[in-house]
Protein backbone atom coordinates (compact mmCIF):
# COMPACT_ATOMS: atom_id res chain seq x y z
CA UNK A 1 0.00 0.00 0.00
CA UNK A 2 2.76 2.40 0.86
CA UNK A 3 4.54 1.58 -2.32
CA UNK A 4 1.42 2.69 -4.06
CA UNK A 5 1.34 5.79 -1.92
CA UNK A 6 4.84 6.64 -2.98
CA UNK A 7 4.13 5.99 -6.63
CA UNK A 8 1.21 8.30 -6.11
CA UNK A 9 3.40 11.29 -5.44
CA UNK A 10 3.30 13.42 -8.54
CA UNK A 11 6.30 13.93 -10.75
CA UNK A 12 5.56 17.60 -10.28
CA UNK A 13 6.49 17.17 -6.65
CA UNK A 14 9.98 16.13 -7.60
CA UNK A 15 10.45 18.22 -10.69
CA UNK A 16 9.10 21.20 -8.82
CA UNK A 17 11.97 20.95 -6.42
CA UNK A 18 14.51 20.23 -9.17
CA UNK A 19 17.49 20.06 -6.84
CA UNK A 20 20.44 17.85 -7.67
CA UNK A 21 20.52 14.45 -5.98
CA UNK A 22 16.80 14.29 -5.38
CA UNK A 23 16.00 10.89 -3.85
CA UNK A 24 14.67 8.04 -5.90
CA UNK A 25 12.36 5.22 -4.91
CA UNK A 26 15.08 2.58 -4.58
CA UNK A 27 15.05 2.99 -0.81
CA UNK A 28 17.58 4.66 1.40
CA UNK A 29 19.39 2.96 4.27
CA UNK A 30 20.21 5.01 7.35
CA UNK A 31 23.66 4.62 8.92
CA UNK A 32 24.88 6.39 12.01
CA UNK A 33 28.41 6.11 13.41
CA UNK A 34 29.88 7.59 16.57
CA UNK A 35 27.21 10.25 16.86
CA UNK A 36 27.56 12.71 19.74
CA UNK A 37 25.70 15.90 20.52
CA UNK A 38 25.45 18.37 23.35
CA UNK A 39 23.48 21.51 24.12
CA UNK A 40 26.18 23.74 25.52
CA UNK A 41 27.58 21.92 28.56
CA UNK A 42 24.76 19.37 28.55
CA UNK A 43 25.76 16.18 26.74
CA UNK A 44 22.60 14.64 25.27
CA UNK A 45 23.90 11.95 22.93
CA UNK A 46 27.14 10.01 23.22
CA UNK A 47 28.58 7.48 20.77
CA UNK A 48 25.43 6.24 19.10
CA UNK A 49 25.62 3.97 16.09
CA UNK A 50 22.79 2.33 14.21
CA UNK A 51 21.90 0.87 10.84
CA UNK A 52 18.47 0.63 9.27
CA UNK A 53 17.81 -0.93 5.87
CA UNK A 54 14.92 -0.15 3.50
CA UNK A 55 11.86 -2.09 4.62
CA UNK A 56 13.07 -2.12 8.20
CA UNK A 57 11.60 -0.44 11.25
CA UNK A 58 14.11 0.40 13.96
CA UNK A 59 12.47 1.20 17.28
CA UNK A 60 14.24 3.52 19.69
CA UNK A 61 13.11 3.48 23.32
CA UNK A 62 14.59 5.30 26.27
CA UNK A 63 13.79 7.24 29.40
CA UNK A 64 12.09 10.62 28.96
CA UNK A 65 14.43 13.45 28.10
CA UNK A 66 17.21 11.14 26.97
CA UNK A 67 17.55 12.81 23.58
CA UNK A 68 15.34 10.63 21.38
CA UNK A 69 13.77 13.58 19.62
CA UNK A 70 17.19 15.22 19.21
CA UNK A 71 18.41 12.01 17.57
CA UNK A 72 15.66 12.19 14.92
CA UNK A 73 16.29 15.89 14.32
CA UNK A 74 19.99 15.13 13.81
CA UNK A 75 19.21 12.34 11.32
CA UNK A 76 16.80 14.56 9.40
CA UNK A 77 19.43 17.28 9.12
CA UNK A 78 17.24 19.73 11.03
CA UNK A 79 20.04 20.22 13.56
CA UNK A 80 23.80 20.00 12.95
CA UNK A 81 25.54 17.24 14.95
CA UNK A 82 28.65 17.94 17.03
CA UNK A 83 30.51 14.84 15.86
CA UNK A 84 30.00 11.50 14.14
CA UNK A 85 28.60 10.72 10.73
CA UNK A 86 25.03 10.20 9.61
CA UNK A 87 24.29 8.94 6.14
CA UNK A 88 20.88 8.62 4.55
CA UNK A 89 20.83 6.81 1.23
CA UNK A 90 24.61 7.25 1.12
CA UNK A 91 24.39 11.04 1.55
CA UNK A 92 25.87 12.76 4.57
CA UNK A 93 25.22 16.46 3.89
CA UNK A 94 22.39 17.83 6.08
CA UNK A 95 20.60 19.39 3.10
CA UNK A 96 20.62 16.07 1.19
CA UNK A 97 19.44 14.12 4.24
CA UNK A 98 16.58 16.59 4.71
CA UNK A 99 15.45 15.79 1.16
CA UNK A 100 15.30 12.06 1.91
CA UNK A 101 13.59 12.13 5.31
CA UNK A 102 9.99 12.78 6.26
CA UNK A 103 9.80 13.76 9.90
CA UNK A 104 6.59 13.26 11.85
CA UNK A 105 6.84 15.23 15.08
CA UNK A 106 5.27 14.13 18.34
CA UNK A 107 2.53 16.76 18.14
CA UNK A 108 0.41 16.38 15.04
CA UNK A 109 0.89 20.09 14.18
CA UNK A 110 -2.04 20.11 11.77
CA UNK A 111 -2.60 23.63 10.49
CA UNK A 112 -5.91 24.80 11.98
CA UNK A 113 -6.63 27.06 8.99
CA UNK A 114 -6.54 24.14 6.52
CA UNK A 115 -8.99 21.27 6.03
CA UNK A 116 -7.91 17.68 6.75
CA UNK A 117 -7.46 17.18 3.01
CA UNK A 118 -5.32 20.29 2.56
CA UNK A 119 -3.24 19.34 5.61
CA UNK A 120 -2.60 15.90 4.11
CA UNK A 121 -1.70 17.48 0.76
CA UNK A 122 0.67 20.03 2.33
CA UNK A 123 3.90 18.40 1.14
CA UNK A 124 2.60 18.23 -2.43
CA UNK A 125 1.60 21.90 -2.37
CA UNK A 126 5.02 22.84 -0.97
CA UNK A 127 6.64 20.86 -3.78
CA UNK A 128 4.72 23.02 -6.25
CA UNK A 129 1.78 20.79 -7.22
CA UNK A 130 -1.39 22.72 -8.15
CA UNK A 131 -4.12 22.68 -5.50
CA UNK A 132 -6.57 20.47 -7.41
CA UNK A 133 -3.94 17.86 -8.25
CA UNK A 134 -2.53 17.80 -4.72
CA UNK A 135 -6.02 17.36 -3.24
CA UNK A 136 -6.81 14.51 -5.62
CA UNK A 137 -3.53 12.76 -4.78
CA UNK A 138 -4.01 13.02 -1.02
CA UNK A 139 -7.76 12.43 -1.16
CA UNK A 140 -7.23 9.07 -2.90
CA UNK A 141 -5.89 7.68 0.40
CA UNK A 142 -8.61 8.98 2.74
CA UNK A 143 -10.81 5.90 2.31
CA UNK A 144 -8.04 3.44 3.24
CA UNK A 145 -6.92 5.51 6.21
CA UNK A 146 -10.45 5.55 7.58
CA UNK A 147 -10.81 9.25 6.94
CA UNK A 148 -13.45 9.16 4.19
CA UNK A 149 -16.05 11.86 4.62
CA UNK A 150 -13.74 14.04 6.69
CA UNK A 151 -11.88 15.67 3.79
CA UNK A 152 -13.38 19.09 4.45
CA UNK A 153 -13.22 18.90 8.25
CA UNK A 154 -10.96 21.29 10.11
CA UNK A 155 -8.43 19.62 12.49
CA UNK A 156 -10.43 20.84 15.49
CA UNK A 157 -13.35 18.67 14.36
CA UNK A 158 -11.30 15.44 14.22
CA UNK A 159 -10.68 12.90 16.98
CA UNK A 160 -7.14 12.35 18.29
CA UNK A 161 -6.71 9.16 16.27
CA UNK A 162 -7.93 10.82 13.07
CA UNK A 163 -5.64 13.80 13.57
CA UNK A 164 -2.72 11.41 13.94
CA UNK A 165 -3.68 9.59 10.74
CA UNK A 166 -3.93 12.87 8.84
CA UNK A 167 -0.48 13.81 10.19
CA UNK A 168 0.85 10.41 9.10
CA UNK A 169 -0.64 10.79 5.61
CA UNK A 170 0.92 14.27 5.39
CA UNK A 171 4.29 12.65 6.24
CA UNK A 172 3.81 9.91 3.65
CA UNK A 173 2.75 12.30 0.90
CA UNK A 174 6.18 13.91 1.12
CA UNK A 175 7.26 10.81 -0.84
CA UNK A 176 10.53 10.38 1.06
CA UNK A 177 12.27 6.98 1.43
CA UNK A 178 12.95 7.49 5.16
CA UNK A 179 10.25 8.02 7.78
CA UNK A 180 11.23 9.46 11.15
CA UNK A 181 8.33 8.94 13.55
CA UNK A 182 8.60 10.70 16.91
CA UNK A 183 6.20 9.13 19.43
CA UNK A 184 3.45 9.11 16.83
CA UNK A 185 0.76 7.82 19.21
CA UNK A 186 1.91 9.24 22.55
CA UNK A 187 -1.01 11.63 22.82
CA UNK A 188 -3.66 8.92 22.34
CA UNK A 189 -5.53 6.84 24.91
CA UNK A 190 -4.49 3.19 25.33
CA UNK A 191 -7.28 1.69 23.21
CA UNK A 192 -6.87 4.11 20.32
CA UNK A 193 -3.10 3.68 20.52
CA UNK A 194 -3.43 -0.12 20.19
CA UNK A 195 -5.73 0.36 17.16
CA UNK A 196 -3.29 2.78 15.58
CA UNK A 197 -0.40 0.36 16.12
CA UNK A 198 -2.24 -2.45 14.30
CA UNK A 199 -3.13 0.01 11.60
CA UNK A 200 0.48 1.21 11.20
CA UNK A 201 1.72 -2.43 11.23
CA UNK A 202 -0.59 -3.15 8.28
CA UNK A 203 0.50 -0.01 6.46
CA UNK A 204 4.22 -0.65 6.96
CA UNK A 205 3.97 -4.39 6.20
CA UNK A 206 5.14 -4.79 2.62
CA UNK A 207 6.72 -1.38 2.36
CA UNK A 208 10.23 -0.30 1.39
CA UNK A 209 10.49 2.71 3.66
CA UNK A 210 13.30 2.90 6.17
CA UNK A 211 11.60 3.78 9.45
CA UNK A 212 13.05 5.11 12.69
CA UNK A 213 10.37 4.94 15.36
CA UNK A 214 11.00 6.79 18.60
CA UNK A 215 8.72 5.88 21.49
CA UNK A 216 8.70 5.48 25.26
CA UNK A 217 6.23 2.61 24.94
CA UNK A 218 8.24 -0.65 24.98
CA UNK A 219 5.31 -2.73 23.73
CA UNK A 220 4.77 -0.38 20.79
CA UNK A 221 8.46 -0.56 19.86
CA UNK A 222 8.65 -4.38 20.13
CA UNK A 223 5.42 -4.88 18.16
CA UNK A 224 6.23 -2.53 15.28
CA UNK A 225 10.01 -2.88 14.92
CA UNK A 226 12.47 -5.31 13.36
CA UNK A 227 15.05 -4.15 15.89
CA UNK A 228 14.71 -2.17 19.10
CA UNK A 229 17.49 -0.02 20.51
CA UNK A 230 17.26 0.75 24.21
CA UNK A 231 18.89 4.08 25.06
CA UNK A 232 20.35 4.99 28.41
CA UNK A 233 19.42 8.16 30.26
CA UNK A 234 21.27 11.33 29.32
CA UNK A 235 23.81 11.30 27.75
CA UNK A 236 22.14 8.69 25.57
CA UNK A 237 24.12 5.57 24.67
CA UNK A 238 22.82 2.31 23.27
CA UNK A 239 22.21 0.10 26.29
CA UNK A 240 20.65 -2.88 24.49
CA UNK A 241 19.86 -4.05 20.99
CA UNK A 242 16.93 -6.44 20.61
CA UNK A 243 16.21 -8.28 17.33
CA UNK A 244 12.60 -9.24 16.66
CA UNK A 245 12.05 -12.28 14.44
CA UNK A 246 8.43 -11.72 13.41
CA UNK A 247 7.46 -8.08 13.68
CA UNK A 248 4.10 -6.47 12.83
CA UNK A 249 1.93 -9.62 13.07
CA UNK A 250 -1.61 -9.00 11.82
CA UNK A 251 -3.22 -10.06 15.12
CA UNK A 252 -1.80 -7.56 17.55
CA UNK A 253 -3.51 -8.94 20.65
CA UNK A 254 -2.13 -12.43 19.99
CA UNK A 255 1.30 -11.08 19.08
CA UNK A 256 1.83 -8.97 22.19
CA UNK A 257 0.71 -11.74 24.55
CA UNK A 258 2.85 -14.55 23.05
CA UNK A 259 5.53 -16.10 25.27
CA UNK A 260 8.30 -14.90 22.98
CA UNK A 261 6.99 -11.32 23.00
CA UNK A 262 6.60 -11.35 26.79
CA UNK A 263 10.20 -12.53 27.20
CA UNK A 264 11.46 -9.77 24.90
CA UNK A 265 9.36 -7.24 26.76
CA UNK A 266 10.83 -8.34 30.07
CA UNK A 267 14.34 -8.04 28.65
CA UNK A 268 13.61 -4.58 27.24
CA UNK A 269 12.10 -3.35 30.48
CA UNK A 270 15.09 -4.64 32.47
CA UNK A 271 17.55 -2.97 30.08
CA UNK A 272 15.54 0.21 30.32
CA UNK A 273 15.50 0.14 34.11
CA UNK A 274 19.26 -0.49 34.21
CA UNK A 275 19.92 2.17 31.59
CA UNK A 276 17.89 4.73 33.50
CA UNK A 277 20.08 4.30 36.55
Amino acid sequence: MLTRLREGTPDAAREGRARPGTPDDAGAPVRIEGLAHSFGELRVIERIGLEAEPGEVVGIVGPSGCGKTTLLELVAGLRPADSGTISVGGRTAAEERLERCAYMPQRDLLLPWLSALDNAALALRIAGAPRGGARAQAGAHFERLGLAGFEGARPGELSGGMRQRVAFLRTLMAGRPVLLLDEPFASLDAITRAEMQSWLAGVLGPDKHTVLLVTHDVEEALYLSDRVLVLSSRPARIADRIEITSPRMPDRSAAVTSAEFTALKERALRSLAEAAR
Binding site: L78, L109, L111, P112, W113, L122, P155, G156, L180
Partner: protein, 260 residues
Protein backbone atom coordinates in the same frame (compact mmCIF):
# COMPACT_ATOMS: atom_id res chain seq x y z
CA UNK B 1 -35.35 37.68 24.69
CA UNK B 2 -31.75 36.85 25.51
CA UNK B 3 -30.59 39.47 23.00
CA UNK B 4 -32.85 42.03 24.63
CA UNK B 5 -31.49 41.09 28.04
CA UNK B 6 -27.91 41.42 26.76
CA UNK B 7 -28.48 45.03 25.70
CA UNK B 8 -30.63 45.94 28.68
CA UNK B 9 -27.81 46.69 31.11
CA UNK B 10 -25.62 48.93 28.88
CA UNK B 11 -28.64 50.84 27.55
CA UNK B 12 -29.96 51.38 31.08
CA UNK B 13 -26.59 52.70 32.27
CA UNK B 14 -26.37 55.14 29.36
CA UNK B 15 -29.94 56.35 29.88
CA UNK B 16 -29.37 56.93 33.59
CA UNK B 17 -26.16 58.87 32.91
CA UNK B 18 -27.82 60.97 30.20
CA UNK B 19 -30.78 61.64 32.49
CA UNK B 20 -28.51 62.79 35.30
CA UNK B 21 -26.61 65.01 32.89
CA UNK B 22 -29.85 66.50 31.53
CA UNK B 23 -31.09 67.27 35.04
CA UNK B 24 -27.76 68.76 36.08
CA UNK B 25 -27.78 71.06 33.05
CA UNK B 26 -31.48 72.01 33.35
CA UNK B 27 -31.86 72.60 37.09
CA UNK B 28 -30.32 75.92 37.92
CA UNK B 29 -29.35 75.06 41.44
CA UNK B 30 -27.30 72.06 40.28
CA UNK B 31 -25.78 73.81 37.27
CA UNK B 32 -24.88 76.81 39.38
CA UNK B 33 -23.35 74.63 42.05
CA UNK B 34 -21.34 72.65 39.49
CA UNK B 35 -20.54 75.70 37.38
CA UNK B 36 -22.23 74.24 34.29
CA UNK B 37 -22.89 76.95 31.74
CA UNK B 38 -24.74 76.47 28.46
CA UNK B 39 -21.70 77.47 26.43
CA UNK B 40 -19.50 75.14 28.47
CA UNK B 41 -21.56 71.94 28.75
CA UNK B 42 -24.82 71.74 26.79
CA UNK B 43 -27.71 69.53 27.93
CA UNK B 44 -28.13 66.21 26.08
CA UNK B 45 -31.43 67.43 24.66
CA UNK B 46 -29.65 70.44 23.13
CA UNK B 47 -27.07 68.12 21.59
CA UNK B 48 -29.86 65.93 20.21
CA UNK B 49 -31.54 69.02 18.77
CA UNK B 50 -28.29 70.05 17.12
CA UNK B 51 -27.79 66.54 15.74
CA UNK B 52 -31.11 66.87 13.95
CA UNK B 53 -30.98 70.54 12.89
CA UNK B 54 -27.34 70.43 11.71
CA UNK B 55 -27.66 66.99 10.13
CA UNK B 56 -26.58 68.00 6.64
CA UNK B 57 -23.66 70.02 7.99
CA UNK B 58 -22.60 67.14 10.24
CA UNK B 59 -23.13 64.61 7.46
CA UNK B 60 -21.01 66.35 4.84
CA UNK B 61 -18.19 67.02 7.30
CA UNK B 62 -18.36 63.47 8.68
CA UNK B 63 -17.99 62.19 5.13
CA UNK B 64 -14.74 64.19 4.75
CA UNK B 65 -13.38 62.82 8.04
CA UNK B 66 -14.44 59.28 7.17
CA UNK B 67 -12.49 59.42 3.92
CA UNK B 68 -9.37 60.65 5.74
CA UNK B 69 -9.68 57.88 8.31
CA UNK B 70 -10.31 55.07 5.84
CA UNK B 71 -7.57 56.05 3.38
CA UNK B 72 -5.10 56.87 6.13
CA UNK B 73 -5.83 53.53 7.79
CA UNK B 74 -5.44 51.69 4.48
CA UNK B 75 -2.03 53.30 3.89
CA UNK B 76 -1.02 52.36 7.45
CA UNK B 77 -2.21 48.77 7.02
CA UNK B 78 -0.22 48.26 3.82
CA UNK B 79 2.88 49.99 5.17
CA UNK B 80 2.60 48.32 8.58
CA UNK B 81 2.29 44.81 7.17
CA UNK B 82 5.10 45.55 4.70
CA UNK B 83 7.42 46.82 7.42
CA UNK B 84 6.56 43.89 9.70
CA UNK B 85 7.41 41.41 6.93
CA UNK B 86 10.64 43.23 6.10
CA UNK B 87 11.77 43.35 9.73
CA UNK B 88 10.74 39.74 10.25
CA UNK B 89 12.69 38.45 7.26
CA UNK B 90 15.87 40.47 7.71
CA UNK B 91 17.79 40.88 10.92
CA UNK B 92 19.67 43.79 9.32
CA UNK B 93 16.41 45.54 8.49
CA UNK B 94 15.26 44.90 12.04
CA UNK B 95 18.32 46.58 13.52
CA UNK B 96 18.18 49.42 11.02
CA UNK B 97 14.47 50.24 11.10
CA UNK B 98 13.07 49.26 14.49
CA UNK B 99 14.54 52.16 16.54
CA UNK B 100 13.29 54.57 13.89
CA UNK B 101 9.85 53.01 14.10
CA UNK B 102 9.66 53.53 17.84
CA UNK B 103 11.07 57.04 17.52
CA UNK B 104 8.38 57.92 14.97
CA UNK B 105 5.80 57.38 17.72
CA UNK B 106 7.48 59.81 20.11
CA UNK B 107 7.23 62.80 17.78
CA UNK B 108 4.34 64.85 19.16
CA UNK B 109 1.75 65.30 16.42
CA UNK B 110 1.39 68.90 17.70
CA UNK B 111 4.89 69.61 16.36
CA UNK B 112 4.41 67.68 13.15
CA UNK B 113 0.96 68.86 12.08
CA UNK B 114 1.78 72.53 11.33
CA UNK B 115 4.82 71.48 9.30
CA UNK B 116 2.68 69.13 7.25
CA UNK B 117 0.12 71.88 6.67
CA UNK B 118 2.86 74.17 5.37
CA UNK B 119 4.21 71.46 3.09
CA UNK B 120 0.99 69.92 1.83
CA UNK B 121 -1.60 72.64 2.36
CA UNK B 122 -5.15 72.37 3.71
CA UNK B 123 -6.10 69.37 1.58
CA UNK B 124 -6.32 65.65 2.17
CA UNK B 125 -2.59 64.83 2.20
CA UNK B 126 -1.50 66.10 5.65
CA UNK B 127 -4.50 64.31 7.23
CA UNK B 128 -3.59 61.05 5.54
CA UNK B 129 -0.01 61.39 6.77
CA UNK B 130 -1.08 61.96 10.37
CA UNK B 131 -3.73 59.22 10.41
CA UNK B 132 -1.32 56.78 8.79
CA UNK B 133 1.45 57.71 11.21
CA UNK B 134 -0.79 57.00 14.20
CA UNK B 135 -2.30 53.76 12.82
CA UNK B 136 0.85 52.28 11.46
CA UNK B 137 2.59 51.52 14.76
CA UNK B 138 0.05 49.21 16.44
CA UNK B 139 -0.42 47.29 13.19
CA UNK B 140 3.32 46.83 12.61
CA UNK B 141 4.18 45.84 16.18
CA UNK B 142 1.30 43.38 16.53
CA UNK B 143 1.89 41.82 13.12
CA UNK B 144 5.59 41.45 13.94
CA UNK B 145 4.82 39.77 17.27
CA UNK B 146 2.47 37.41 15.43
CA UNK B 147 5.07 36.50 12.80
CA UNK B 148 7.61 35.75 15.51
CA UNK B 149 5.17 33.70 17.58
CA UNK B 150 5.06 30.85 15.08
CA UNK B 151 5.50 27.44 16.71
CA UNK B 152 9.17 26.32 16.28
CA UNK B 153 8.02 22.69 15.90
CA UNK B 154 5.83 23.81 13.01
CA UNK B 155 8.88 25.35 11.36
CA UNK B 156 10.80 22.07 11.72
CA UNK B 157 7.89 20.08 10.32
CA UNK B 158 7.58 22.39 7.29
CA UNK B 159 11.35 22.33 6.69
CA UNK B 160 11.25 18.55 6.69
CA UNK B 161 8.44 18.69 4.09
CA UNK B 162 10.76 20.76 1.89
CA UNK B 163 9.42 24.26 2.63
CA UNK B 164 11.89 27.09 2.09
CA UNK B 165 11.87 30.49 3.80
CA UNK B 166 9.05 32.05 1.75
CA UNK B 167 6.91 28.89 1.87
CA UNK B 168 7.15 28.86 5.66
CA UNK B 169 6.24 32.55 5.71
CA UNK B 170 3.21 32.03 3.50
CA UNK B 171 1.95 28.73 4.89
CA UNK B 172 2.62 29.14 8.61
CA UNK B 173 3.86 32.52 9.75
CA UNK B 174 1.36 34.80 8.01
CA UNK B 175 -1.71 32.74 9.06
CA UNK B 176 -0.33 32.64 12.61
CA UNK B 177 0.18 36.42 12.55
CA UNK B 178 -3.26 37.34 11.16
CA UNK B 179 -5.14 37.39 14.51
CA UNK B 180 -2.36 39.56 15.95
CA UNK B 181 -2.53 41.94 12.98
CA UNK B 182 -6.29 42.29 13.48
CA UNK B 183 -5.77 43.14 17.16
CA UNK B 184 -3.44 45.90 16.03
CA UNK B 185 -5.94 47.03 13.40
CA UNK B 186 -8.70 47.37 16.00
CA UNK B 187 -6.49 49.58 18.17
CA UNK B 188 -5.42 51.55 15.09
CA UNK B 189 -8.93 52.22 13.74
CA UNK B 190 -10.02 53.56 17.13
CA UNK B 191 -7.18 56.06 17.44
CA UNK B 192 -7.29 56.93 13.73
CA UNK B 193 -10.42 59.03 14.30
CA UNK B 194 -8.67 61.16 16.91
CA UNK B 195 -5.76 61.60 14.49
CA UNK B 196 -8.03 62.79 11.70
CA UNK B 197 -9.84 65.30 13.92
CA UNK B 198 -6.59 66.66 15.26
CA UNK B 199 -5.19 67.07 11.75
CA UNK B 200 -8.32 68.98 10.75
CA UNK B 201 -8.12 71.08 13.88
CA UNK B 202 -4.68 72.32 12.93
CA UNK B 203 -5.44 73.34 9.40
CA UNK B 204 -8.49 72.53 7.37
CA UNK B 205 -11.55 73.95 5.69
CA UNK B 206 -13.78 70.92 6.19
CA UNK B 207 -14.26 67.81 8.32
CA UNK B 208 -15.60 67.20 11.82
CA UNK B 209 -12.43 68.60 13.45
CA UNK B 210 -12.86 71.82 11.48
CA UNK B 211 -16.55 71.91 12.43
CA UNK B 212 -15.73 71.49 16.13
CA UNK B 213 -13.13 74.23 15.89
CA UNK B 214 -15.57 76.66 14.29
CA UNK B 215 -18.48 75.80 16.57
CA UNK B 216 -16.37 76.39 19.63
CA UNK B 217 -15.17 79.75 18.37
CA UNK B 218 -18.82 80.77 17.91
CA UNK B 219 -19.80 79.32 21.32
CA UNK B 220 -22.12 76.83 19.53
CA UNK B 221 -21.23 74.20 22.11
CA UNK B 222 -24.17 71.91 21.35
CA UNK B 223 -23.00 71.69 17.74
CA UNK B 224 -19.44 70.77 18.72
CA UNK B 225 -20.77 68.09 21.07
CA UNK B 226 -23.02 66.81 18.30
CA UNK B 227 -19.91 66.50 16.13
CA UNK B 228 -18.25 64.48 18.89
CA UNK B 229 -21.28 62.16 19.02
CA UNK B 230 -21.03 61.61 15.25
CA UNK B 231 -17.30 60.99 15.64
CA UNK B 232 -17.82 58.38 18.37
CA UNK B 233 -20.48 56.64 16.31
CA UNK B 234 -18.07 56.58 13.36
CA UNK B 235 -15.31 55.04 15.50
CA UNK B 236 -17.67 52.39 16.90
CA UNK B 237 -18.92 51.47 13.42
CA UNK B 238 -15.38 51.25 12.01
CA UNK B 239 -14.31 49.11 14.97
CA UNK B 240 -17.28 46.82 14.39
CA UNK B 241 -16.43 46.65 10.69
CA UNK B 242 -12.83 45.58 11.41
CA UNK B 243 -14.13 42.95 13.88
CA UNK B 244 -16.57 41.69 11.25
CA UNK B 245 -13.82 41.36 8.63
CA UNK B 246 -11.68 39.57 11.22
CA UNK B 247 -14.41 37.02 11.85
CA UNK B 248 -14.83 36.45 8.10
CA UNK B 249 -11.08 36.00 7.55
CA UNK B 250 -10.09 34.01 10.63
CA UNK B 251 -12.41 31.04 10.56
CA UNK B 252 -10.23 28.84 12.77
CA UNK B 253 -9.49 28.81 16.47
CA UNK B 254 -6.09 30.46 16.74
CA UNK B 255 -5.33 28.59 19.98
CA UNK B 256 -5.81 25.26 18.20
CA UNK B 257 -2.12 24.63 17.46
CA UNK B 258 -0.96 25.12 21.02
CA UNK B 259 -3.44 22.48 22.15
CA UNK B 260 -2.37 19.71 19.78
Amino acid sequence: MSTARRYLAPVAVILVLLGAWELAARWDWISNALNIEDFLVPAPSDIAKSLWEDRSLLGSNAWVTLKEVVFGFAIAAVAGIGFALLIHLSETARRAVYPLLVASQTIPIVILAPILVVWFGFGLTPKLVIVALICFFPITVNMLDGLRSVDPDLTKMLRSLGAGRLQRLWRAEIPTALPYAFSGARVAITVSVIGAVFAEYVGSSEGLGHLINQAQAQLLTARSFAAVVVLSAMAILLFALVSLIERKVITWDSRELTRS
